[in-house]
Symmetry: C2
C-alpha cells in the first residue's frame, strides 16, 4: 500500500480526500460533510480519475442520511435523489460518477429501510463496498495486464491512472506498479498532461514512491520517442468506453494513440468494467467537458498567456476503437471486434 | 510593422534584443556588446527562432571588429574565428546560425580589408544585409503562402514563427498575418508549445497585436480539433530542412504532422532557403538538442514536478518528409519529391 490515501470515510461522518490540486508540493487532506461539498470537490478536481470520483460520489451520498434531520426514510431518500442530481452534474464525461450514484440510489430505493438510521447503515455499507471493490478490481486488472507487459518494457503513460485516480492501486499505473513489483525491469515515459499536469505532478509523485524508473516528458514528445525506437507499448486509463470500443479519456489520449499506431506500438486501455458503458453506442454520444480557461492561462499563480488571450480547454478527447489494441479489464483482456466482445463481457 | 522589434543594431555599438523569456508579462530590451554575450543570449533563449538567431549571430560577429583592440585586420579576423566557434555551439539544431556565421566569415576572409575599421564596416554592413534580407524573404514567402490559405481557413500553428522568431514578419505566422491583412477571415489554433510555451506566450502576444482571431489550446488537443472537423490546414516553421525534405522543428511538430495526415489536413512548412541545408542528407544527421530539465520542472518560478523527478527535454523532433504536404519558400512552393525539387531550388 502507498503511504497516502486518495479517499476514505472517517468514522466521525466525513469524507476525507487528499487535495490533488496541491500535490506534489503539499500533502493536505480535506474533509467534506455534505454531498454538495463533495460535488464541489469533484468539480474543482480536488479528486479526479474516473474510479475515484465514482467512490467520492458514493460516499457523498452516504453523507445525506448521516446528517439528515428527517427521521422518515422516504424523505431522506428524497434528499438523496436531490443530492444525486447535483453530484451527477459535477463532471459529465466519466461514467463511473453516474454509475456509482445509480448503484447507491437503486439500493436505497429497493431496500425499504424502516428508519433513517437503517438507511444510513445500508448506504454507507454500499459506498464502502464500491470503494473496496475498486481496489480488488484494480489488482485483478493489473494481474491480467502482466501478459501484455514484457520484462524490460519501455512504457508511455498519459495523465494519472494510479492510486490517486482510484481508491487504491490504479488502473494503467496499477498494472505498471505490479510489473515493477514482479521484478520486471520497466521504464515509464510520464507525459506532463497539460493543462492540469496530472502526469508531471501526480504520476511522477506516485512513481517516485514506488521506485519505478521514469522520466517526465512533454506531451508532444511522444512521437519523437516512438520514432527513435524508445517505446514498446502505451497504457492509459479511460473515463468512459462506449459499446463500440471508442474511448473517452484525458485530452491528448487520441494524439498518443495516433502516433502509437503510426509506429506499430501497441496501445492498451486499462479500465474496470464500471467504466464501460454499453448504454453509450459510440464516442459521438459522449459529452466532452470544456473546463475553465484559467487551467491553460495560469499554472499555480503564474499567468502564462497575455491578458485577454482566448483559450480552448476541452478536458477529454475520443479515441476511436480502431486505435485501441486491447482493453484490459478485471475479467481479462478484451480485443477487437469490441461491439461483440464487450457485449460478451457483460453477458 | 509591429509595435516592437526582435533584434536591432544600435549605432552606439550594441545588439539590442527583446527578452523573449520575459514576454508577455514584461517587455524588456537587453543590450549585448560582445559575441560571447550574444551566444549566451541565444543559448538562454533571450532570442530564439531559426532566422532570428541567424541574425543575432551575424550581429554578434559584427561586435568583434567594433570593440577589438587590434588594429591589424588579420588579428581581428582571428578573433572573429574564435567568436564564431562560440556562437556556432550556442544551439546545434537550427542551421541558420552556422549559415549566418559562415556567410560573415567568408566575406571577412575574402575581403582583405586594409584596416580594422574597414573590416568593421564590411562586417556590420553584411550583418545588416542578412537582417534586411530576412524581412524581405519572409514577406515573399508569406505572399507565396497565400495560394495555400483559403478565405475562412482554420489554421493550426505550433510554436512561434512570427516577428519574434525572425527579424520581422515571420515565416508561418507571417503568412498567417498576411492572410489576415488581405481580408481573409482566418482563425488560428495556437498550441501552447511546452515546455517553453512559445505559443501561449509569444504567438498569442503577437496575434493579439495583429488582431488575428485565435485560441490558445494544449499541444495534445490538435487531434481532437482535427477529428471534430475544425482544422483546415497546419503551418509550422523549421529549424532545419534536410536535402530529402525531412524537417527538424520544435518538439511536437512531428505529433502534429502525424495527426494531420490521419485527418487529411495539409501540413505546410514555411522556411526561408537559409533554413534548407542540402549538406544534411536526411533528418537522421540532425543533432537534437537536449535542453535543461528546469524547462520542464519549472514554469517561471513555480515548480511543477516533485523534487528529484527525472526529465527528458528534447528541444526538437524530426518530421519525415512524407508527412510534409509542401514547403513554402521565398521562391515559391516546393512539393514532393523533395530530393529533386529542393536540388532544383538551389540550382
Amino acid at each position: 500500500m502507498a503511504d497516502f490515501y486518495t479517499i476514505r470515510w472517517l468514522e466521525t461522518g466525513a469524507v476525507s480526500m487528499i487535495d490533488q490540486r496541491k500535490l506534489p508540493r503539499q500533502v493536505i487532506y480535506n474533509q467534506y460533510q455534505t454531498a454538495e461539498a463533495v460535488a464541489g470537490a469533484i468539480q474543482d478536481m480536488v479528486i479526479r480519475g474516473a474510479p475515484a470520483i465514482g467512490a467520492a460520489a458514493a460516499f457523498g451520498l452516504a453523507l445525506v442520511p448521516w446528517y439528515s434531520k428527517n427521521e422518515n426514510p422516504d424523505l431522506v431518500l428524497g434528499e438523496m435523489e436531490e443530492a444525486a442530481r447535483i453530484l451527477r452534474k459535477a463532471r459529465p464525461t466519466a461514467v463511473n460518477l453516474s454509475w456509482a450514484v445509480e448503484r447507491i440510489l437503486q439500493l436505497a430505493r429497493s431496500a425499504r429501510a424502516p428508519s433513517r438510521a437503517a438507511l444510513q447503515g445500508l448506504v454507507l455499507e454500499e459506498a464502502q463496498r464500491i470503494a473496496e471493490e475498486d481496489v480488488r478490481v484494480n489488482l485483478s486488472l493489473g494481474k491480467h495486464a502482466q501478459q501484455l507487459i514484457p520484462d524490460g518494457a519501455v512504457i508511455f503513460h498519459h495523465c494519472n491512472t494510479g492510486s490517486l485516480a482510484t481508491v487504491d492501486y490504479g488502473t494503467a499505473l496499477g498494472a505498471i506498479r505490479l510489473a515493477h513489483e514482479a521484478g520486471k525491469k520497466i521504464f515509464v515515459y510520464v507525459d506532463e498532461t497539460r493543462p492540469r499536469l496530472q502526469g508531471a505532478r501526480l504520476t511522477a509523485w506516485e512513481l517516485l514512491q514506488y521506485g519505478v524508473p521514469f522520466k517526465v516528458v512533454p506531451d508532444s514528445s511522444s512521437g519523437h520517442f516512438m520514432r527513435t525506437g524508445k517505446v514498446d507499448l502505451c497504457i492509459v486509463g479511460a473515463d468512459r468506453v462506449a459499446a463500440n470500443g471508442d474511448v473517452a479519456n484525458k485530452i491528448g489520449t487520441y494524439n498518443l494513440a495516433v502516433v502509437a499506431r503510426e509506429h506499430q506500438v501497441p496501445f492498451y486501455v486499462a479500465v474496470p468494467k464500471s467504466t464501460i458503458d454499453l448504454a453509450t453506442p459510440s464516442g459521438d454520444q459522449i459529452e466532452i467537458e470544456e473546463r475553465p480557461p484559467e487551467e491553460v492561462t495560469h499554472i499555480n499563480s503564474c499567468q502564462i498567456t497575455p491578458d485577454n488571450a482566448p483559450v480552448g480547454n476541452p478536458a477529454f478527447d475520443i479515441t476511436p476503437a480502431k486505435f485501441v489494441t486491447a482493453l484490459i479489464t478485471e475479467e481479462g483482456i478484451v480485443r477487437p471486434p469490441y461491439p461483440e466482445n464487450l457485449a460478451k463481457l457483460f453477458s
